[in-house]
């Protein structure tokens, strides 16, 4: 019973609360209407008087640093490392670029100057200073290696690899692993057959003009590993070229990559023709050379004529008439 009466009381009270604000609101609205002006119907949305915008305060650019630079400053500390051009740091009236009429643009806001690489960090005094700093890590040049010839003789293998120095989250550059070794083919102890096999093994790594073999290794992740691998390749190729496999003995005349006169039918027929050994036949050397050129260097009007002349000499025929 008690609980019931309480709930009823609550209900009643809440009703009173709801009705009260209505009455208050009504009374304030009447007061406002009295105070304000009559509102204008603004259909065309004509601008009313606007508040003036606050003027943006222009930041004053600092005068270029070059103005304050003393004449005897230490340039190495102004421009310590490689960097693209900055007009305010370089106290030089440089100009770059082209305009149709007038002079070339000056250094300020000049993209052309920024684009090109500069060597402002490598001025002679700076280089000198850096060399001085490095000197304490160097050892004296061996006296025996006076010229390039001596160097080549004592150190026939030239090893080339690159180190990279730059600011980045990692100090490792994958290009640093690549190792190139170069050496002259003549510095290897090879005979004619072994040389031929070596050249077949190295393939296009041999440069005929300079007589050098260049082996580039980049398959291992580290420089040391690649260097070891290159050395291994060199050793393996060298010893393999001295190896004579059983199937290599089967190489016949048809497999020859060049024409060797002394192993060919031409020699046999000449020997049969004269009934003598090759050494006893006069003028045979010129003939054999002519045949070899004809076969090795391909046929041309010139080589055929040469061949003809040598045959005439060999057989003792009168010379060809000159045309």
């Amino acid at each position: 019973m008690l609980s019931y009466s309480r709930s009823f009381e609550k209900f009643l009270f809440s009703n009173v609360e709801k009705s009260l604000p209505f009455s208050i609101a009504y009374s304030t609205e009447v007061k406002k209407e009295v105070k304000e002006e009559f509102r204008v119907l603004n259909l065309k949305n004509v601008k009313r008087q606007t508040q003036p915008k606050r003027a943006q305060k222009q930041l004053e650019a600092l005068p270029p640093r070059t103005n304050k630079m003393p004449v005897d400053q230490d340039w190495g500390s102004v421009w310590p490392g490689p960097r693209s051009f900055h007009p305010a740091s370089v106290p030089l009236p440089v100009r770059q670029g082209y305009v149709e009429k007038g002079v070339a643009p000056d250094k300020y806001a000049n993209a052309e100057l920024i684009k090109i690489p500069n060597f402002l960090h490598l001025t002679p005094p700076v280089i000198k200073r850096q060399c001085e700093a490095l000197k304490k890590f160097c050892t004296p040049w061996p006296k025996a290696l006076e010229n390039d010839k001596e160097c080549e003789k004592h150190f026939p293998i030239e090893v080339t690899s690159s180190d990279y120095c730059h600011s980045a989250p990692t100090i490792r550059n994958p290009l640093a692993r690549i190792v190139t070794i170069k050496f002259k083919l003549s510095s290897l102890n090879l005979n004619e057959r072994a040389k031929d096999k070596f050249l077949r093994l190295v393939g296009e790594r041999y440069n005929k003009e300079t007589d050098t073999v260049a082996i580039v290794t980049d398959r291992c992740p580290l420089k040391k590993q690649n260097y070891d691998y290159a050395m291994y390749l060199l050793t393996a190729c060298y010893h393999e070229s001295w190896n004579v496999e059983p199937w290599e003995e089967l190489k016949s005349e048809a497999d020859m990559e060049y024409y060797d006169w002394s192993k060919n039918a031409s020699k046999k027929s000449v020997e049969a023709l004269f009934g003598k050994q090759t050494e006893d036949i006069p003028n045979v050397k010129e003939y054999s050379e002519a045949v070899s050129t004809l076969m090795n260097e391909g046929e041309s009007e010139y080589s055929v004529t040469k061949y003809g002349d040598s045959v005439r000499k060999l057989l003792g025929l009168p010379d060809a008439p000159k045309t």
Binding site: L273, E299, G308, V311, P318, A320, P321
Partner: protein, 387 residues
């Protein structure tokens, strides 16, 4: 069987001559006018020398009838010769060179091989004709194959060889060649010393006994066409023996020699399979003759692009045309280049045409013809020929 064709051919030749004599375009000129620089009166090739270069000399009808009845001169040249009512050959450097060598060869040494080479239409066959004429005058025994291509690429018939397994005979062509050989050497073959060295057994009943004249062997081949190919090989063998013994001096002249080494022939077996050149019976005899293992002989061959299939006509140089095998077979040989006309030769040729009333002279003719023909003898002849 071929005796009748022989008679027929001779008759034809006679008919042609009479026909041309009644129609020929030339006017007989006095002998003085003929003595111009483009022509020499020296009709004997023995006396031709350097001073005669680019001059024409007349090949006498009697010589021509003996040498070139059954081929040897190119067809277009033959037609022109008929029109001109005379066969004139130009004395050119390559032929003179070979003739000079032939005069200086020591015939007691192994046979020397000459290879005439040059681009198409430069006159290799005509140089060969000049050399043959010289050899004919020198009483050489002439073994002349007018065009090997006729055997390897246009043979008349083919049959399996009976004596040799897997070989192909081209007997009609062989018999034709025997006839050619007989005509060319009629005066030498009648000599009694040319005898066979051994018995040639053809079948149970047919043999040519030892010491029978060579002529008999040839006539047997012509009469019994079945054995013609073998006869040719036998004759080649006999000639070699006879020359070696010093009974005769031989010139071997083969035109289109590289056809013997060109793999693709148009000779087919019964099953229509193409035959390799070395499987043709005739090849053996002539390859045997072009070896150096005999003396009292001289061998002159031409290598020609026309003797091989058109798709392989890449170069005119001898090593390419002969191939490895052919080169090794001939090596060491003397290559002799037959080149295009020189300026002097062009002028001489045009002078000759003018004299024959074959072309009308007008200013600038020489330069124009030389330019248009690029100094190629065959083209020059074609440009000046009738339509």
């Amino acid at each position: 069987m071929l005796k009748r064709p022989e008679r027929f051919i001779i008759k034809c030749a006679q008919l042609h001559n009479s026909y041309i004599q009644s129609l020929h375009t030339t006017v007989c000129l006095s002998s003085q006018e003929r003595l111009q620089s483009f022509r020499t009166n020296e009709e004997n090739p023995l006396n031709h020398n350097e001073s005669n270069t680019a001059q024409f000399y007349k090949l006498l009808e009697s010589d021509k009838a003996k040498l070139f009845v059954h081929g040897g001169l190119p067809k277009s040249f033959e037609t022109q010769a008929k029109t001109f009512n005379e066969t004139c050959l130009m004395i050119r450097q390559p032929a003179l060179d070979v003739i000079n060598c032939m005069k200086n060869i020591d015939y007691n040494k192994p046979a020397v091989r000459f290879v005439l080479y040059g681009k198409k239409g430069t006159g290799k066959s005509l140089a060969m004709a000049h050399i043959l004429h010289y050899a004919f005058k020198q009483d050489f025994l002439i073994v002349h194959v007018p065009w090997v291509g006729n055997w390897m690429r246009r043979c008349k018939e083919q049959s399996n060889s009976e004596s040799k397994e897997g070989y192909i005979d081209i007997n009609l062509d062989a018999a034709g060649w025997l006839l050619h050989f007989k005509t060319q050497n009629a005066h030498i073959l009648s000599k009694p010393k040319l005898k066979t060295s051994r018995d040639h057994v053809w079948s149970k009943r047919e043999t040519t006994p030892k010491d029978s004249p060579l002529l008999e062997l040839i006539e047997h081949g012509i009469a019994r066409i079945k054995y013609a190919s073998e006869t040719v090989n036998a004759i080649c063998e006999e000639i070699k023996i006879l020359s070696n013994d010093g009974k005769c001096r031989t010139i071997v002249a083969i035109d289109g020699y590289n056809a013997f080494f060109y793999r693709i022939t148009r000779v087919f077996t019964v099953k229509k399979e193409p035959v390799l050149p070395e499987k043709v019976t005739l090849t053996e005899g002539f390859l045997n003759l072009t070896k150096f293992d005999w003396k009292n002989g001289v061998i002159i061959v031409t290598v020609d692009e026309i003797a091989i299939a058109e798709k392989d006509q890449i170069s005119h140089l001898p090593r390419y045309l002969l191939g490895k095998q052919g080169f090794e077979h001939l090596d060491p040989f003397v290559p002799i280049l037959v080149s295009n006309y020189t300026k002097k030769e062009v002028l001489s040729c045009l002078d000759y045409y003018k004299e024959r009333k074959w072309i009308q002279p007008y200013p600038g003719l020489e330069n124009e013809v030389e330019f248009v023909s690029a100094s190629n003898p065959y083209k020059l002849m074609k440009i000046c020929a009738s339509l």
